[in-house]
């Protein structure tokens, strides 16, 4: 195991985070704060609570998930796409590092950044609305599992993308709609019966539901199902990464 290489890649990526602090950390915090001001304070005060939770508090887990997903994907995809784009990837490819070590470095850094960000948003949210966390350990577990899974997904997108447009395409056209439709701002029980069924095909529903359960003990789908679905998605991403390195797809001629 080339620990020094994992450390080198991890620290390199984290240095990029600190260098672009404003963009990496501050801007998601500001946009999330705006959500709380608009949905939590302004609109929320005119809405009845859902499942016994005030609307402002109800949207907290969903909003954290929204940032966690989009940030994990963009951090990890950019992290691996950029060396490919400028050509510095030659050094990674010629180094005595295994695929696992490369993934551990890049995905580890992207996930760390997302988790830090998620926790910052959590603290920010507390300034706007009062809430409690019933299962803090589960909350952290969901946070970590989601960050790692979607960083892996972002890593795959970064390798697949051969131009900047593709890099934005999946997050924009797939992930953002799925997240908004995944119950960030509502309970899926509020939907008509048909759409309740359709929405179960959206993997993000399970993430948000499980995460909300760790806060308030209420969920749209069973917690076990949430964990299971996240694990399935994680397994799919791992398999894709394994295939990428086995074939050298978009990395090696």
């Amino acid at each position: 195991m080339n620990i020094y290489a994992i450390r080198a890649i991890y620290l390199f990526e984290m240095a990029r985070t600190w260098r672009t602090l404003l963009q990496s950390i501050v801007s998601p915090v500001i946009s999330t704060s705006l959500y709380f001001v608009v949905f939590g304070a302004a609109i929320g005060s005119h809405m009845t609570g859902i499942d016994g939770v005030s609307y402002g508090a109800f949207i907290v887990p969903g909003l954290i998930m929204l940032s966690l997903l989009t940030q994990s994907i963009s951090n990890a995809s950019f992290g691996i796409y950029f060396p490919k784009f400028v050509g510095t990837i030659y050094e990674i490819l010629s180094a005595p590092v295994s695929p696992f070590e490369i993934v551990a470095g890049y995905v580890g850094a992207a996930a760390s950044k997302s988790v830090i960000l998620g926790l910052i948003i959590l603290v920010t949210a507390r300034l706007f609305v009062p809430f409690q966390i019933e299962h803090p350990l589960w909350m952290l577990a969901f946070l970590l599992l989601t960050a790692v899974t979607f960083s892996l997904f972002g890593f795959i997108i970064g390798i697949w993308a051969d131009n900047f447009e593709k890099l934005q395409l999946v997050p924009l056209l797939v992930v953002t709609p799925l997240t908004f439709l995944g119950g960030s701002f509502y309970s899926i029980h509020m939907l008509p019966p048909l759409w309740q069924k359709v929405t179960l095909f959206n993997p993000v529903v399970y993430l948000i539901s499980g995460f909300r359960w760790s806060f308030y003990g209420v969920s749209d789908v069973g917690v076990g199902v949430s964990v299971g679905m996240t694990a399935v998605f994680l397994a799919i991403c791992l398999a894709a990464v394994w295939w990428i390195f086995r074939t050298g797809y978009r990395l090696k001629a």
Partner: protein, 308 residues
């Protein structure tokens, strides 16, 4: 002694169908400077890229210090440093960080003293805290060499090291290459500048259209190079070379109008004065004379043309 690099029946066909390498066999000796010479698109970079792990081989094997570069890539790559042709750097990193990053990536524990030495050797010490984006092209080239040397490799690849490099940097670079060789590092460089190969290399390989068409000691090539020819255009054609001139390495051209004398230009006595005196004594008149030297460039051009 086992070769430090052994390339065996190596072929590469790209997805486009282009065959970049055709069954290459090559052995690089430990501690030598090997120059790989060839025109653009000959396959030099593909060969290096396969050895370094950037391109997958289609067929054949490569051993680096006895380790298969595909199956035992960890051990093989740890011994190799690569300075690629393109100047690709992380714009916002500092010189110190990027060189330290390379060392870690190649599995070595941090060693500030070594990084400092490498930077000083390459006249980069004063720039250690500068961001790469602020450096000139020549300085970036130095940084890329520093990155390749950060993990103390046993084998160093320099792909077109003098492309876009000024005289001073080239001189520094060659001094550094010689110093590295003195410590036992094997150096493989690609170039299309023949003078460069002539100045630096112990052995020279010529690659053309994916085939290795010549591998020879530079000394032997220089021997061929060191030979000069004196051509005498005769006033009257000769039937045979006169007995009085028997001791000289002379050849009569097919049209019997020219006498060709081959001599060692680097020898103490070229023998030209004696030859001319003998010719006068034998009553052979000539109307013109010229001397010519076959350069590495001539050899190269004729080889490449032969294989065209």
């Amino acid at each position: 002694m086992q070769p430090i690099i052994a390339v065996n029946q190596l072929s590469k066909t790209y997805a486009s169908g282009f065959q970049a390498l055709k069954r290459i066999d090559l052995e690089i000796r430990q501690g030598e400077i090997f120059a790989l010479l060839g025109p653009n698109g000959a396959g030099k970079t593909t060969l290096i890229s396969i050895i370094c792990g950037i391109v997958n081989p289609s067929e054949g094997t490569v051993l680096a210090d006895g380790h298969d570069v595909v199956r035992d890539y960890r051990a093989a790559r740890a011994k190799i440093g690569l300075v690629p042709q393109e100047l690709t750097t992380d714009a916002f990193e500092t010189v110190w960080n990027t060189v330290s990053f390379s060392r870690g990536l190649f599995g070595r524990s941090a060693n500030p003293a070594h990084v400092e030495k490498v930077l000083k050797d390459l006249s980069l010490w004063s720039k250690k805290d500068s961001k790469l984006i602020t450096l000139s092209g020549g300085m970036k080239r130095r940084v890329m060499i520093a990155k390749a040397l950060s993990h103390e490799p046993q084998i160093l690849f320099l792909d077109e090291p003098s492309a876009g490099v000024d005289v001073e940097l080239r001189r520094d670079m060659w001094a550094m290459v010689r110093a590295l060789r003195a410590t036992g590092v094997t150096i493989i460089l690609t170039t299309h500048y023949i003078e460069e190969a002539e100045e630096m290399a112990d052995r020279i390989g010529v690659i053309h259209k994916g085939e290795l068409i010549l591998v020879e000691d530079k000394a032997e090539l220089m021997n061929k190079l060191g030979r000069k020819q004196l051509t005498l255009h005769l006033q009257d054609p000769l039937e045979t070379i006169p007995a009085a001139l028997a001791g000289y390495p002379l050849e009569l051209s097919a049209d019997r109008q020219q006498l060709v004398y081959t001599f060692d230009a680097q020898g103490e006595h070229t023998g030209i004065d004696m030859l001319l005196r003998r010719l006068g004594e034998a009553g052979i008149d000539f109307k013109d004379l010229k001397t010519s030297q076959s350069s590495l460039e001539d050899i190269f051009v004729s080889l490449v043309r032969e294989h065209a």
